[in-house]
Symmetry: C2
Subunit: 489 residues, 2 copies
């Protein structure tokens, strides 16, 4: 937000007014809608959500984002996948599916591909697990950046891209070399040499900002410490495909929908989530993602197949009007984001290889985590994966860039640092000694409290009204316990 202010940019809040569509809960799930921030779930699943989010947030509040090894029971939490935790602690099958959808939407990844400790560290860095999912104040999906100085037809500087553009202008366009992929970084006592296919650049320090799986492809001389190699070779990156569909008008708003859809993966429906993507000037659009195993299944199909399936799903969830979209283009329409249906698969870009973030597989965080940020000679590491606040987001990317820049300045010309910067540097170095959680978003706990209260009231009302349901439920619970007992025997 500081940078947005510095560059004179503006944000607008994500449109969330109206009904949200929710379609999760097995192949026979009903399509439900809800107008509040509490998801459209049955009472039992709401209770399950409350207890699971409560457990995860409680664990998350014990995580040391800066040094996960200091988390109580770190080894055990890093030894299981997110999937294993959910299997153990979720009561209902619907909640398990729900968590799969969350993992797909947030990480572009299945819950069985990441360490549970990593998941709660990621949640802690965002201020709580619900912050990752919500578009309410303080949450990940709260703001969009207004597109200022671009025409509608061709807009490379639109949205958040404007930040990169302004930064490039600030340091001088001639200092940014595009189309020069780094193949090797050599260093000795004197300097570092950064090599591309055609050029080489001598420098006193290097900041590598690309994601760990791409940093691992660069050839380093001398070789990097084995701990760093082991780490970056084992940070799976997600798989997301983004689509934007433009319409003459935001018909869903008129029908009382917010444009937010959360859907279970199925053979017919490729999308996991959509949001309203209408610009402040009124160009109507829906933005959505095909993610995780769905991206894996759908990426090899024809674009027209995906498009037709997406449109069919939208018709199912929002009505016939969804079929009358303006038009569609793919990949090379990346600069025309808000005037076309763009199906953008980051996994197919050689220098992305996936999206949105690298996570950690089990057993990496407790052994290898310090290697993620620790400079290797003249090489310093930035990128959102190295952030301690909003790790995985643009916010984290900026935090990590500032931290790495300070590291280099402190090394090469410490006298140029302001007192404030010196203090920031000192604070960053002391972070390892501060094992407290990152609790900068009180809104989470409000939402959580509201959620718990509502579900408790609803559950009590329901059980009072339908005592049979209560008996059935206790019966089921007893059976689960007896089955566990029998298995154990």
């Amino acid at each position: 937000m500081d940078l947005i202010q510095e560059f004179g940019l503006e944000v607008y809040t994500q449109y969330t007014t109206g009904k949200k569509v929710h379609h999760v809960g097995g192949p026979h799930a009903k399509v439900r809608t809800s107008s509040t921030s509490i998801p459209a779930l049955s009472t039992l699943v709401l209770l399950d959500l409350s207890q699971l989010v409560w457990k995860i947030d409680r664990l998350s509040s014990t995580v040391s984002v800066e040094d996960p090894m200091k988390t109580p029971n770190a080894q055990e939490l890093d030894s299981m996948t997110l999937h294993s935790y959910i299997e153990k602690h979720a009561w209902t099958e619907e909640m398990k599916e729900e968590m799969g959808v969350c993992s797909r939407v947030v990480f572009g990844m299945e819950p069985n591909q990441m360490s549970f400790l990593y998941f709660i560290m990621y949640a802690a860095a965002a201020g709580g697990v619900l912050c990752l999912l919500e578009s309410t104040p303080g949450s990940a999906q709260e703001f969009r950046v207004k597109t200022l100085d671009c025409t509608a037809a061709l807009c490379p500087q639109g949205g958040t891209q404007q930040l990169s553009e302004r930064l490039a202008q600030q340091i001088g366009r001639e200092s940014v070399r595009l189309g020069q992929a780094v193949t090797a970084i050599w260093q000795d006592a004197e300097r570092a040499k950064v090599m591309t296919a055609t050029h080489s650049y001598l420098c006193r320090a290097v900041i590598v900002t690309c994601p760990p799986h791409l940093a691992a492809k660069i050839h380093y001389q001398p070789a990097l410490p084995i701990q760093r190699e082991h780490l970056t070779q084992n940070m799976p990156v997600g798989h997301l495909m983004k689509f934007v569909i433009t319409y003459q008008m935001a018909f869903w708003r008129e029908k009382g929908y917010s444009g937010e859809i959360v859907a279970r993966p199925s053979a017919e429906c490729p999308l996991s989530v959509t949001f309203d993507g209408t610009s402040p000037s009124g160009s109507a659009a829906l933005v959505g993602f095909i993610s995780g195993v769905q991206a894996y299944n759908w990426s090899s199909r024809e674009l027209s197949e995906r498009r037709d399936a997406v449109i069919l799903s939208l018709v199912k969830y929002l009505g016939e009007e969804a079929a009358s979209y303006i038009h569609y283009e793919e990949k090379d329409c990346v600069f025309q984001m808000y005037s076309a249906l763009c199906c953008q698969d980051w996994a197919l870009e050689e220098y992305s290889g996936g999206c949105p973030v690298n996570v950690m597989a089990p057993g990496m965080l407790t052994y290898y985590h310090p290697s993620l940020c620790m400079p290797c000679g003249r090489i310093h590491w930035a990128g959102t994966e190295t952030a301690t606040k909003w790790c995985g987001y643009m916010d984290g990317a900026i935090q990590s860039g500032q931290r790495a820049a300070l590291e280099v300045l402190a090394r090469l010309c410490p006298f140029t640092l302001t007192q404030e910067e010196q203090e920031a540097m000192q604070a960053a170095q002391n972070q390892n000694h501060d094992s407290g959680p990152c609790q900068h978003l009180p809104s989470t706990s409000h939402l959580r409290r509201a959620l718990i209260l509502t579900t408790l009231i609803m559950a009590t009302a329901l059980l009072l009204a339908q005592p049979q349901l209560c008996r059935d439920w206790i019966g089921q619970a007893r059976q689960v316990v007896l089955r566990r007992f029998a298995l154990w025997q």
Copy 2:
């Protein structure tokens, strides 16, 4: 064994006569010895071992090594780490530690770093989980290769290395380019171009045999399919350090020890396992490994520290004589393996980066496995990780080389294939349709039956002799169940 015979080489069996030392079971564990193939464990832990090996082998017998997706419940088995499975199914803390030692010895890796489905697939490819650990007939540690045509002082052709040397002679030394690391492979409709820092080679097909994490570092044009990229970027490689210590005489044999030690990781003892490494000509030696988290902890220390700690441990387990070793050298003594203490850390070699094998993190096998062998245009993939029998071993490496060579021949000059080769090729292609397990080692089941019988007899005898123990044990079991019940509530 065919190749050994073809080259006129000879094998000798691993020396296993005498007591094996076993030191596992928490910080206060007793050092135990055993002269049979049944490990020196308490009755309860032996029972636990039996039930756990039985469960794992039963699951392992349902695995389709060629197509793990066909394994019943594949998704669930691939969604948990080996650690999670052990936590759930081992009864005793000692057995959990025991499985950690096994994972470290076999994979150079902690049980929390690999998919459980991968582990049982690996065991299935070896004929059962005990085959991975034993030196009995049909097991991984059965044979060593005799060193034939080399002097004692400098012996680059010694041991199994002789196979590579003879293969190189067979195709002509001039066809083998050493010191030419491949940096890029480009291909088009006409041919492939393999590039090193100084040379490039044009060819009609390429077989890449290096481990997946190194194959991932090569630059491919056009880029490889994203499934292959995701897979090879997420196959962690183990961390083993090998040491060989030579002595004037095999004093342990005279004292009735086999030279086999299995030890729990501790601050004092770096080693996980040792074997007798005495040559057929009588040069006395012990061979051992520092592995997994121990290798991680000890690799950054001074060599002399490691050596002293290893020797101290050997004195503790085998007696004072262990202190009088001949001498020690490191790394550049790799050609003098049997006349010195060599401490060899494969992780520090740029073109190894770890040892002995790449495993799969959870969630990779069920999505991405076919990409491991599937040719990408003119590029074919070999290496022990792609094998279906003794995956991870030299046997598997040879199987995979033969399979890849046949693939290339079938493509470039199918008429040169013998009928036998055509059949082998056909069989390999049909493997995907054959979901039966790899059951080529009946000896496993004998050992397992012997183990189960012995532990049952011992347990019955013990419980008859000490009824109090039985009551205690049932009491403990009841407490565990009640605790689980309470936790669930």
